[in-house]
Symmetry: C2
Subunit: 229 residues, 2 copies
């Protein structure tokens, strides 16, 4: 499949690399590819520059949002919460129409200090705002509940015995995303329902952030344990 991955951070790199390894034709979308490619030092999160990552993944392309989305059959939003609507807007509604749009972002608002709060929250979600802004896109929320390493390699933790969620209004789009998740090794994929159920998946983040703090690692996830006889 031709896939555009929006976002050059840890999550975008992990997803782009893993999708390319599975034979997909992947282009990373960014605001200004020339600027992204020309950076030589670590970014503000201390990550190596994108060019260094791309040198190890020569099969992955880099384009602006419109260019990446235009030729893609499926688009992954791995930008920041605040950057999501601008990035998708730059791609343009016409280039997203009819396509599966996998939203893995979290609407974290750092403007009030740490820990970040969610915005939107409770009666709305980022996934719903994206679906509303791009009604022709087939939005599926998933993977936002775990760190990037586990998104693409769930087997590194407890042999993959933990859970991931799907939210979206389009059943066929969710099937497509389920196949991608299975290709990464996810086994317990729980369909939460329509796109409004993304509120639940996004509102998990405050607990995730606290657990990250007390466990001292992001290498954890939740397993939904059921099966009372």
């Amino acid at each position: 499949m031709r896939i555009a991955v929006f976002g050059t951070g840890t999550v975008g790199r992990a997803l782009a690399g893993a999708l390319a390894e599975r034979g997909h034709e992947v282009t990373v979308g960014t605001r200004d590819p020339g600027e992204t490619a020309s950076r030589t030092g670590p970014d503000r999160m201390g990550r190596p520059p994108f060019s260094e990552w791309q040198a190890g993944h020569p099969e992955v392309g880099l384009a602006d949002y419109a260019g990446a989305a235009g030729s893609a059959e499926l688009v992954v939003n791995a930008t920041s919460g605040a950057g999501s609507l601008p990035a998708l807007g730059a791609a343009g509604a016409a280039r997203l129409a009819g396509k599966v749009l996998v939203d893995v972002s979290n609407p974290l608002d750092f403007s009030q200090g740490m820990p970040p709060v969610l915005n939107p929250v409770n009666t709305d979600s980022l996934a719903e705002r994206i679906q509303q802004a791009f009604p022709g896109a087939r939005v599926v929320k998933t993977l936002n509940t775990m760190n990037a390493a586990l998104m693409v390699d769930p087997g590194r933790l407890a042999g993959g015995d933990h859970s991931v969620f799907l939210s979206g209004d389009d059943a066929a789009a969710k099937d497509t995303v389920r196949d991608l998740l299975e290709s990464f090794g996810h086994r317990d994929i729980i369909d939460l329902g329509d796109i409004t159920s993304a509120r639940g998946a996004e509102m998990w983040l405050p607990l995730w952030l606290r657990l990250y703090g007390v466990l001292g690692t992001a290498d954890f996830n939740i397993k939904v344990v059921r099966g009372v006889e």
Copy 2:
């Protein structure tokens, strides 16, 4: 220990019964004990009347909030989210001062229809509001993340191999609550930090409610899976 359990619903009954079975001297607190005791039909949730439950638990007392809290060493808030501050207010700050106050409630707001939303949320939590309203109480948030049957009998699901959380500002109070949780069979008790971490535990509810819908049972919980080598 002398324990007051505020609330006569499913959660209050489960906790009162389980604590009494473990040898604690338990009094259930309610707004109007005469009215509670005199009900003969099912309540609005379809539960048998409290008097029928109490007939099976003759060792558990019933009193008004002030009476139950006055003689208790530890108070459990198992009232509804909207009923919590009024119930604790009826008990009075003086009767809560210095005591461990275990808050198991969820601030679910049904006024906007189903599914309920949270109020407060995101930048505040019910647990924090309780702590702020009763600064002398030693508030510990716990158990709100699972159904009543699992609160008091975690072993009924996967042999107890799932997680429960603690939030609170008072380390000794959390130790007391940890002991109670262990007496119920909880083994993975995760201290999330101070009382503001209750935001995370409360904001788990929207995801819990969606899972309840799609799994068709409340007999589930989350296990925090960690241990990447």
